[in-house]
Symmetry: C2
Subunit: 674 residues, 2 copies
């Protein structure tokens, strides 16, 4: 049996990467359209490459320094340092693959829309499939490789630290990609809008706006690279924590208890591949087509989960827990869609509130964001309790929680594909606009853009769910790793830990939002300068200097992410030494709780205000150009850094603090003995 | 010794109430100025009385139903039900005394400003002194009365439940006063501004605006009654929890361990009385004069604390803990002043950000609010740890925490007096404006108004500190009362409790903010209607119908506070039955943590945006009438319900959930045995 399992574990991700290669090839061979389209696409590609290059350099510096620190601190254990380097770079590889494909797919999607709208949908979805499949497959491949090469396993517990290091590496890359990417995209977006739309009164995606390329690049940087790295690290953290906890259950299930998480992931890969190819060119309604893909993937996962639960694990309860995870993913998506979906109650009410001025817009948007935490928290709580008791409570209940975590992350490949669908069609829309072929394309790309907004919102909610369940599993890994028998809230130092942990996401968000403010201010200055100094620019006779704007965004993004990164790494370390491992446990759960709550608040408030603006632009309450629309635009802009910078970065914060704590356990324990 | 202590405990609050009577008499005998001033003042008084009357009716209904429920649930124990009724009404009595004096002091302050600005300061401060002294003295008087009449004490532990019921009653009145008051004041304020200032372009406090009286009444309802009831309940909760915990230390300190908290309160009363009379008419700078009063009160408390720690308790460590509490109160005020003070970095930066539009204003304001949690949390954590270890750690460390809690609440009388100074001078400013005597008064009242804004901001920060420390003490009382040996965060139900508890303040705030949105919308409709239907109103030839606006505010405030109140009472009860007492402990600490964090965020973000607007109005960045000012006004309006409705109500939420949990412990334990 074990042999078959191992073969499956190697075959599935290998197949996944072969499909990735095929997808890239099949996209590249498509035509890119007119020379003007090619020119604009090349700007976006250059901007993306510049960002990736500089991001790589930053990660390189940071990873080398961190590795040296890790090696020195944890000497003679080299495993964490090595795993860290590997994790950081494999994660970077996955987002590079994904993003470079996305910026190739965008222009081809625009071109496909000239002939067949259905083909555009397929192109964009398959473009997103590259990162979706990569993050799943590379995860499993690396962990299997570490397993074979270094003998990770119950006979060699020290080597498990390789996995821990790997998880830490993926989280750091994720934080850089999501936080840096979030600052990049919103700095450019807000800056471009404030001068372009508001001051110069030129439309969105107008080629005369010097910041327009930075804005288009930003969509890829934030939604594709950022979210991809986030889900990559959720996936690996979840796998790793589940495998480490699996060690506790080898007496019950045998050695396969450790491999079980990997096995579910192999099924997910197969499900994702089928889901990707189910979508055909002929499908009329793009949202229905995407939903069919989701459904197919979900169904295959469900069947596979039943198979492994009964044949490999001989425990049907695990199937129930896995299915519960899938169900939770669906509920989380539905709740997110309710609170941010165009035409639903909250979005309509925010649009209606805009009639009474921008203050009432943001007040209403903020209050819906606050409210949306309730349903999501109840969902997660019920899920956690149900899986715990379904599996039988006590120790084995913990394994149920692990299985539910694997269930909720099962869909991440296909959801990531639909997420990257967003920036691809968004970019395609920009290319259509800028190359003057909108008449040729008609409204088909705009329809896709609206669909992309829905999928992006769903992914953010889903990513939050994944991060939350992952953090809970990590917390139990921490408790197990630190040898704690309890984390007692009646002890004053533990309460102190809870307060500091609760505060951390607030401080982190403050720094992230401020960074967008700074980056956008510089962008505003630069765009104003170009409008003033380049003669004939506003008349469309001269070309703007796109690359300076791209440069400003890149530099700011990488500079401004230093402070929040530093805070999130140093806080658990200092608390661990000053307050001890038990109080640190209190800190971890508090950071997880308030981080999740704040993230939900910000993502949903921002998403709802974004769609309230779009709802008005669709002609409700007077449409564009009215004071009501102006109020909604202010709400949308305020929500931008909340939903695209601070909110999604908090997902990574809550995983990162847990992993940092986990990594430094030996030092904390050593110190407490001194 | 015990006799002397008991005499002191009766003498101090009796003296306090005598001084209250003197203050009321001394204010009443002053002249109220012109007949126009008398007319306007009478509108405000009528509005206030209408609110108080309807509030009393609401409290009456609620209290009777609750008492019946409490009696039925806890039968044959009648103590909690009786205590509850008493607490609810004494608290209401205190705010009625305070508010009816405040609406008498406002017109007299305006009149005093016509002759001697220093006299106006004294009048406003003494007017505030009535509620400041009342909340302290009535607290002590009631608890002493319960003590004598029913033999509350270690020999009669069941009677301690009287105190518990008393605390619960004060909290319910506080929630009604603060939440209802917050909805009242901000519904009126936002509604008056949106039509008056923005649409009709008439100045603030213009008599042509139909909502202006509701706005002026609202200042008293929110700042005087709301905050007064909040501090009244913090004071009694703190006293009661400290006395119950004191039972654990009678073996060490003797019976006086239970009376020690009351004794510190007696000292505070003396300190407050002296502090109130230190302020003279001759003092030139009003802020310096107020600071001198604070300093005097602080100094007397310090001396008194030293005396009782050495002579009565024979434990100098208690003096250190008490002093630490005083110090914390000062630090909390300083941090609040930094983040919200006009001319400080954050306020200047928000004003500067307004140059780039309202979206950047609210983004910057929100990020400073988030950031401000860091320093305050660190202050509270360091205080809690320091007092715990100063007193010797372990069980006795807990008594240190209790002492620090008594220290931080020591200043509440004088701080409450300076807080009510705010609405009194604000109202005086309005009366001056509306009765057309501004030339006579010059700018002296506006100076006082600015001072009032500072004192109001300080009080909100201080009230947060009090509520937080009180909740911590209550938490330990809960642990002791439920017989818990630990609250273990590694148990899944406890984690579920933490998530639900963390979410509660988010949901509560959503409902509170939404309520202001609804109330202000109705106000907007009414003001627009009057401008349209009453001929000659905008030209100043006809009188608006003030009372309809007052009526709208009153009705909405009392209707809209039902949902949040219900949620905050029912959640701990349901959680206690469904998840058990240990998980409920997790819920309590999580509600305390996120409630405090959210409250700090909202109070400071709102306060900073308010003062950024005022900073621009003072002539910076172009001053009034510029787009920069318009952007800042949007930020200020957005911040209004955050800082005056949701934020301060959260203080009460965190105390209330703890007390509800404490009250229902016997039922939870009974149910878990079934």
């Amino acid at each position: 049996m074990l042999e078959i399992v191992l073969i499956a574990l190697i075959a599935a991700p290998t197949l996944g990467m072969l499909v990735v290669a095929y997808l890239i090839w099949s996209i590249k061979r498509e035509s890119i359209g007119t020379s003007r389209m090619e020119e604009i696409a090349s700007y976006i590609q250059e901007g993306s490459n510049a960002f990736l290059k500089r991001e790589l350099k930053t990660i390189l510096y940071f990873a080398i320094v961190s590795t040296v620190v890790l090696l020195l601190c944890l000497w003679p254990s080299w495993e964490i340092g090595f795993g860290f380097l590997l994790g950081a770079f494999i994660s970077f590889l996955a987002i590079t693959l994904g993003m470079s494909t996305a910026v190739k797919a965008n222009v081809r999607t625009a071109n496909a829309a000239r002939t067949l709208p259905g083909k555009a949908v397929k192109m964009a979805f398959r473009g997103g499939g590259v990162i979706g499949l990569s993050i799943m497959s590379l995860n499993v491949i690396c962990i299997i490789a570490l397993y074979y090469l270094f003998g990770v396993g119950p006979k060699n517990p020290e080597a498990l630290r390789l996995l821990l290091g790997f998880g830490l590496g993926t989280d750091v890359t994720a934080l850089f990609a999501q936080l840096g990417g979030g600052i990049y995209t919103k700095g450019a977006d807000v800056g471009a809008d404030l001068v372009g739309k508001v001051e110069a009164k030129i439309p969105e995606d107008d080629p005369r706006n010097p910041a327009v390329i930075a804005d288009l690049v930003g969509d890829n940087v934030g939604d594709c690279a950022g979210r991809g790295a986030d889900l990559f690290s959720s996936g690996s953290d979840n796998l790793i924590a589940a495998m480490i906890l699996g060690l506790m259950f080898t007496s019950k299930y045998g050695w396969v208890a450790v491999l079980f998480p990997l096995l579910t992931r192999a099924i997910d890969i197969i499900g994702t591949i089928v889901g990707l190819f189910v979508l055909r060119e002929k499908s009329k309604n793009p949202l229905t087509a995407l939903n069919l893909s989701f459904l197919t993937t979900g169904l295959i996962c469900l069947l596979g989960f039943y198979a492994i639960s009964t044949w490999v694990m001989n425990d049907l309860r695990l199937f129930f827990c896995l299915s519960l995870g899938l169900l939770t993913a669906i509920i989380v998506s539905l709740v997110t869609q309710y609170y941010t979906g165009a035409g639903r109650g909250p979005v309509k009410n925010i649009a209606d509130a805009s009639k009474r001025g921008a203050a009432i817009t943001v007040m209403t948007g903020f209050s819906y964001g606050l409210e949306s935490t309730a349903l999501l928290v109840i969902t997660v709580v019920v899920t956690a309790l149900a899986s715990y008791f379904l599996a039988g409570g006590g120790m084995i209940g913990l394994y149920g929680l692990v299985a539910t975590g694997m269930g909720i992350t099962a869909m991440k490949g296909i959801i990531m594909a639909s997420d990257t669908f967003g920036p691809i069609v968004d970019n395609a829309d920009g290319i259509v606009e800028m190359s003057g072929i909108s008449d040729e394309v008609g409204g088909s790309i705009e329809v896709l853009d609206a669909v992309g907004n829905v999928t992006k919102a769903i992914t953010k909610g889903y990513a939050m769910g994944c991060a939350l369940l992952t953090s809970l599993v990590l917390l139990f890994t921490y408790v197990y790793g630190a040898g704690l028998t309890s984390i007692d809230l009646t002890k004053v130092p533990v309460i102190a830990g809870v307060f500091i942990g609760g505060m951390l996401p607030f401080l982190f968000s403050a720094l992230a939002i401020r960074a967008v403010g700074k980056a956008s201010s510089q962008m505003v200055e630069e765009v104003r300068r170009q409008f003033k100094e380049i003669p004939g620019l506003l008349e469309g006779k001269a070309k703007p200097d796109y690359s300076t704007c791209v440069d400003i965004s890149t530099k700011n993004a990488l500079k401004e992410m230093v402070a929040p990164t530093f805070v999130s790494i140093i806080t658990p370390i200092v608390a661990g030494f000053a307050l001890g491992v038990e109080a640190l446990g209190g800190l971890l759960i508090a950071t997880t709780t308030t981080g999740a709550l704040l993230a939900i608040l910000m993502i949903n408030a921002g998403g709802a205000m974004d769609n309230a603006k779009k709802y008005i632009e669709a002609g409700h309450f007077g449409g564009k150009g009215t004071p009501t629309h102006a109020a909604a635009v202010i709400g949308d802009t305020y929500g931008d850094p909340l939903k695209d910078t601070a909110g999604p970065s908090l997902h990574i914060l809550i995983k990162l603090v847990n992993l940092v704590a986990l990594t430094f356990i030996p030092l904390f324990l050593l110190y407490s003995l001194l």
